[in-house]
Symmetry: none
Subunit: 145 residues, 2 copies
DNA sequence: ATCTAAAGGTCAATAATAGTCAAAGGGGTA
DNA sequence: TACCCCTTTGACTATTATTGACCTTTAGAT
């Protein structure tokens, strides 16, 4: 039930990326703003809040004539489990620092993670790991108030 | 048998959830308060007293324009998995009693469980659940002296 | 080389939501 | 009645979205 303009722009971009070959698209900021009847800076807002490194995207741009914004999905697309594992470790370390997690909870997560992903093939392991990344991220946002 | 406003809000939300197909609804706090002619913070009160983790729900929210409160019932499931689910619940209850688990850890497990097994087909769900059962069992034995 | 038009970026103000917390209210029950 | 626990309120706070004025960069024309 995502209804704000920012939400709809986010969805639109994600659909475009999922339809792309290289997990990458190029848009024109002003044109996209026109499509959604908003000011151009709102597109910038969406990019910075939903397509930043933390969310698994990188954005590059060029100003002036023939300018563009290129958005590339990096994290959750390649079946590279090591990367997900690193993401998780970073997230847990960060949550510990911020005291959103107790030491015992971090240990529990690590324990569950290894127990759940043990003996899985690459594809299944990737599934479990990426779900775990999302779940932990969400859990964190639930607890960081 | 007089029902308070909080009771009526509770019932209202539960009806909405039972009518939903994903055990999940999104409301606007101010709108719901308007419906029941109460202040918005009373909705927050109802959520925290009747829709918390201990009651089998998680609530998430977003402030700002087009904000919302999402309430999800975490119980579910299909018959085959029910047994595993029950096992898990019992184990967790037991570990809580024995103080091998803190309340916050139990909630973390429930959260991860629902996030990890969401949208899986029967077979995969069974796999995740049974691994979780094994993992928790092992975790328990590690933590009981 | 300079100028100009056409992009995109920054930042702060304003609006729209939801959360927090403590005080006040109300209904049972010893 | 006195007391307790749950409910109800509202002032204050926090977060997120939307808008617009002003700034910077780039390609192409002169």
């Amino acid at each position: 039930m995502k209804r704000s303009i920012s939400d709809r722009i986010e969805q639109y971009i994600k659909v475009l990326i999922s339809r792309s070959d290289a997990q990458q698209i190029e848009i024109q900021r002003a044109e996209l703003a026109e499509t959604f009847s908003c000011v151009p800076s709102q597109v910038t807002y969406v990019l910075s809040t939903r397509f930043n490194g933390k969310d698994g995207y990188i954005t590059e741009s060029r100003r002036g004539g023939k300018g563009f914004v290129r958005i590339t999905r990096i994290s959750s697309s390649s079946p590279d489990c090591t990367r997900l594992q690193n993401d998780l470790e970073e997230m847990i370390a960060h949550m510990l620092e911020e005291q959103h997690l107790q030491e015992s909870e971090a240990q529990l997560i690590n324990y569950l993670l290894s127990a759940l992903s043990e003996d899985l093939d690459e594809e299944q392991r990737h599934l479990v790991l990426s779900r775990m990344v999302k779940a932990i991220a969400r859990y964190n946002s639930l607890h960081s108030k």
